[in-house]
């Protein structure tokens, strides 16, 4: 189960709206390498994970990703707060606005809706952890891409925090992969799938 804590993991205090940047940053909510996909990926993969360290890391990183999703949503919310119809039109926010007004909805920057096909839960620890490490790097690249477009330090600050977390998570997943391999036959890591062949 989960408990809500009434604070953000890292503060988001944006005082100037920017609907153009909101449309880019929303990709980290509902895009292919976004926080929602990250959380669902790890929280789905953990049930059949046979090694307790790795089940722990999937649970705890999956939980942290929910807090990151909340930060991204707070950024988008603050970037689009109290927009006027004129501003909505001027900055090209009209296509989003017509369907969602100023509410949050998980979509990629290009407008495609969030989908569970953004991630895999394959039921093989080497396969899943390789995907998880790649996912953290893809998210890091996305944050790097966002940072090249942002000039406002109030937006940069929380985005930089989120980018750094991708690197830490990548490290923890790397250690998890090592733990899995230590349990397997070093002459052939693929001889069995420990999520299926060990009862």
């Amino acid at each position: 189960m989960w408990n809500y804590e009434k604070r953000l993991q890292y503060p988001v205090k944006i005082t100037r709206t920017n609907p153009k940047m909101a449309q880019v940053i929303i990709s980290q909510f509902g895009g292919p390498d976004g926080e929602l996909a990250a959380s669902m990926r790890y929280l789905s993969q953990r049930y059949t994970m046979p090694y307790k360290e790795v089940t722990g890391i999937l649970t705890d990183i999956g939980t942290e990703e929910l807090a990151h999703m909340e930060m991204i949503c707070a950024i988008v919310y603050q970037l689009t707060k109290d927009l006027t119809p004129e501003e909505i039109e001027k900055y090209g926010f009209d296509k989003y606005y017509v369907d969602h007004t100023l509410a949050l909805w998980p979509q990629a920057a290009a407008g495609t809706p969030w989908t569970a096909t953004y991630f895999q839960s394959k039921g093989d620890p080497i396969t899943d952890l390789s995907e998880d490490m790649a996912a953290e790097q893809k998210a890091r690249t996305t944050y790097d891409n966002i940072l090249r477009l942002i000039k406002d330090p109030e937006i940069c600050d929380p985005i930089r925090f989120l980018r750094e977390r991708e690197i830490v998570h990548y490290q923890r997943f790397g250690e998890s992969l090592r733990i899995v391999q230590d349990h397997l036959d070093s002459r052939n890591f693929y001889a069995i799938n420990p999520e299926f062949d060990i009862k």
Partner: protein, 90 residues
């Protein structure tokens, strides 16, 4: 009368964010290094500081967690303070 011990809201919240983040990050490290004594000691100290700070915050500025949401009046106070994404929120 003004409570002289009343902590600065901003500073206390920053402190909660700092110790909570350190505790969270140590927790991830411990998941893959469960026998690391230095990290265990570090986690224990951070957890105590975090619990204290959350209790103090709830006393003066309202609860951030279910465990610090005390029923001290005839009104439910969890919904009073702004939500984290709102102005004045945490």
């Amino acid at each position: 009368m003004e409570d002289r011990k009343r902590p600065c809201r901003r500073e206390l919240l920053d402190w909660i964010n700092v110790v909570s983040f350190a505790a969270d990050d140590t927790k991830l490290f411990l998941d893959t290094h469960p026998g690391n004594q230095e990290a265990l000691k570090c986690f224990d100290a951070l957890k105590k500081q975090r619990t204290e700070a959350l209790k103090e915050y709830a006393r003066y500025y309202g609860p951030l967690t279910l465990d610090t949401a005390a029923v001290s009046s005839d009104r439910w106070c969890w919904i009073n303070e702004p939500w984290p994404w709102q102005e004045g929120g945490c």
